[in-house]
């Protein structure tokens, strides 16, 4: 018997009688908090920055002022092509983006309870980008924010994403004596622009 059969037959023999799968009722968690206020607060707790803008142009001009030293930039937002200093195509390897200073992506889902934004790989030309870029900037519509993770997954249920990530704040670590340091292996900063 190979290990697969072996493991499966041992489980079949050792498992308890079937127990019922509990139903998740998200209404139990309703806390009446203001969704935008809560999202703003949680993005900041996670070490991110939050801004409000009216248009993509407005967003780009704010980003340029925030990072005057940035040289290598890439954005997927409509009408921001002049911001890009490089192109992302299939011929390039993930390693080629090591020096990417600013990456601007769009998110279609934010979660108020933890300040996380969802990035599916349809929204990014290459999976490594939001991790390898020094400064990650996310554009998010206010209507795209839900209260809890439960509602977030309800929205994702119909999406067949091959890869996707919830990101909350910049990369961080507290592995040296519990001192929080922003900027571990991923982005050194995360800015969310609400529209």
């Amino acid at each position: 018997m190979n290990s697969r059969e072996n493991i499966l037959s041992r489980i079949a023999a050792n498992k308890p009688d079937l127990l019922e799968l509990p139903k998740v009722n998200p209404d139990v968690f309703i806390d009446g908090k203001n969704i935008i206020d809560e999202f703003t607060k949680k993005v900041e707790i996670a070490g991110g920055n939050l801004f409000e803008v009216v248009s993509n142009e407005d967003l780009i001009s704010q980003v340029i002022t925030m990072f005057p030293e940035a040289k290598i930039n890439f954005s997927t937002l409509k009408g921001t092509e002049s911001f890009n200093t490089l192109s992302v195509d299939a011929n390039k390897a993930p390693q080629d983006f090591e020096d990417l200073d600013i990456l601007i992506l769009e998110s279609n889902l934010g979660v108020a309870e933890n300040g996380a934004v969802w990035l599916p790989d349809n929204n990014m030309p290459m999976r490594v980008l939001p991790f390898i870029a020094k400064h990650l900037v996310i554009a998010l519509k206010k209507e795209a924010i839900v209260t809890f993770m439960h509602q977030g997954y309800q929205k994702l249920a119909s999406e067949g994403t091959d890869f996707g990530v919830f990101i909350s704040g910049p990369s961080k670590t507290a592995d040296i004596e519990q001192s929080l340091v922003i900027g571990a292996h991923g982005a050194l900063s995360l800015s969310v622009f609400l529209m």
Partner: protein, 455 residues
């Protein structure tokens, strides 16, 4: 070495013990602050418990479903009965891809299987990329905590370690500088890696996908750059549906560090174009634990570490004193199932205060299981002479009320009159490092009867 002996060595440096205790209590406190802001937290814990219990009761079906979906998604699936087979599978995948340089993100399973030495023996470089894990790897030590692997190291120790291995400048343990240097050092490793190994936090049966949670982004930096991604998971990582992540991702980070969610919760379903993805599903004693009705709930564990941070014994004895891959309360109920003799002292490394069960996000009855392991261990493994005889004597005394009263009287008198040197003599471990209270003049029984008389 028994836990108590290893703990007494750790306790020789009292200042460091106090520092360790406080560092972990700080994390426990952060957990409290964040969980208290969640309406319905207890309901969330109930759901976590219920979903895991259901999954275990149908685990074979879910594993088959998971495999079927993962294969459809273009992921190769492997099955390993034990740690040795797991290591051989990972090794053969690496060989197949001529991988010489491997970056690994946190995976307690690969620690449990001792994967690194196995691969290193064949000249493969394995770099642990979580900062805490890299610190203990450089120090040639195992992690002392499952979420905070280097919690036992002071920043000055890390400073010295980095000077020696990474050529950093002396900095009085400046965490900002040291982390920055580690980022540069590991960035190079990510860029050059031939393969990436990650753990798995959750495997979803109905999508065939896996979720990996990190704060540093190291799992993603590995998996999205290297041409091969190998994800290693125990059979118990399964959950039925993607929507259940809503429950577990709300519980995990809050319980672990007090964050509302980890920085990155990465959902892998298909390999990226041109890359390969493998999943290794491992048993290594888990199906046996499933057969034990009293202990199977230990397989609910989502590895948050909250039971360690809250445990008065763990905080004062350090993770290494457990001499097990998973230390602390949860480790003490998992390890005896693997090797009862080697880990026979672990279920006794507890005051049975129950704090571990109170903070557990999936409501494992940890302290009750510790108590149950004690019953088994006392029967099945040889006990120290003093403990055995004193237990027998106590059993004898408690079974005869007259004798109990007499001995109680003598004990109370002794605690009032005998010199401390006699009371705290060697066989009385309760007198070690503390004084026993002065014996009262009368027993509770006498006091109660007198009180009744006065009514």
């Amino acid at each position: 070495m028994s836990h108590s002996k290893a703990a007494s060595i750790f306790n020789k440096d009292e200042k460091k013990v106090n520092w360790h205790d406080k560092a972990l209590w700080f994390v426990r406190h952060k957990r409290d602050k964040s969980t208290h802001t969640v309406a319905g937290w207890e309901e969330l814990r109930n759901l976590g418990h219920g979903i895991k219990a259901h999954t275990l009761s149908n685990l074979d079906t879910y594993l088959i479903q998971f495999e079927e979906n993962a294969l459809k998604n273009g992921i190769q699936v492997h099955w390993a009965a034990d740690g040795d087979e797991h290591n051989r599978i990972v090794h053969s995948i690496l060989k197949e891809h001529h991988a010489k340089k491997v970056v690994k993100s946190k995976s307690m399973l690969t620690e449990e299987c001792h994967l690194n030495p196995f691969l290193e023996a064949d000249g493969i470089e394995v770099i642990d990329t979580d900062l805490g894990e890299r610190i203990v790897q450089l120090a040639k030590e195992p992690p002392s905590h499952i979420v905070l692997p280097a919690i036992h190291k002071t920043k000055e120790e890390v400073d010295e370690l980095f000077q020696e291995h990474l050529g950093t400048k002396p900095c009085d343990g400046d965490p900002q500088y040291l982390t920055g240097e580690a980022r540069k050092h590991l960035r190079e490793k990510f860029i050059q890696a031939d393969a990436a190994i990650t753990g798995v936090n959750f495997a979803i049966a109905d999508t065939g996908g896996i979720v990996v949670c990190t704060n540093e982004g190291n799992a993603d930096m590995g998996a999205h750059i290297a041409p091969v991604h190998i994800a290693c998971m125990g059979v118990e990582k399964l959950i039925p549906k993607q929507e259940h992540l809503g429950v577990f991702l709300r519980l995990l980070a809050r319980s672990a560090t007090g964050q509302h969610i980890t920085t990155y919760s990465s959902h892998f379903k298909k390999p990226r174009e041109g890359a390969k993805m493998h999943i290794v599903i491992v048993d290594n004693g888990r199906t046996e634990q499933l057969s034990r009705p009293d202990f199977r709930a230990s397989l609910h564990c989502i590895r948050c570490g909250a039971c360690m941070n809250t445990c008065p014994i763990y905080r004062r004895s350090g993770g290494h004193s457990y001499d097990a891959t998973i230390p602390g309360p949860i480790g003490s109920i998992l390890s005896p199932g693997k090797d009862l003799k080697k880990h026979s002292s672990l279920p006794f490394a507890s005051t049975l205060c129950g704090s571990c069960s109170d903070v557990c996000p999936v409501k494992i009855d940890i302290h009750a299981q510790l108590y149950k392991w004690r019953q088994i261990i006392t029967k099945e493994t040889p006990q120290p002479f003093v403990k055995k005889t004193s237990m027998k004597m106590m059993g004898n005394i408690f079974s005869k009320p007259m004798q109990f009263n007499k001995v109680g009287g003598i004990a109370r008198w002794s605690l009032r009159n005998l010199p401390k040197g006699v009371i705290n003599s060697k066989p009385n471990v309760w007198g070690k490092g503390r004084d026993l209270p002065i014996g009262p003049k009368e027993s509770f029984d006498t006091w109660y009867k007198n009180r009744k008389k006065d009514e």
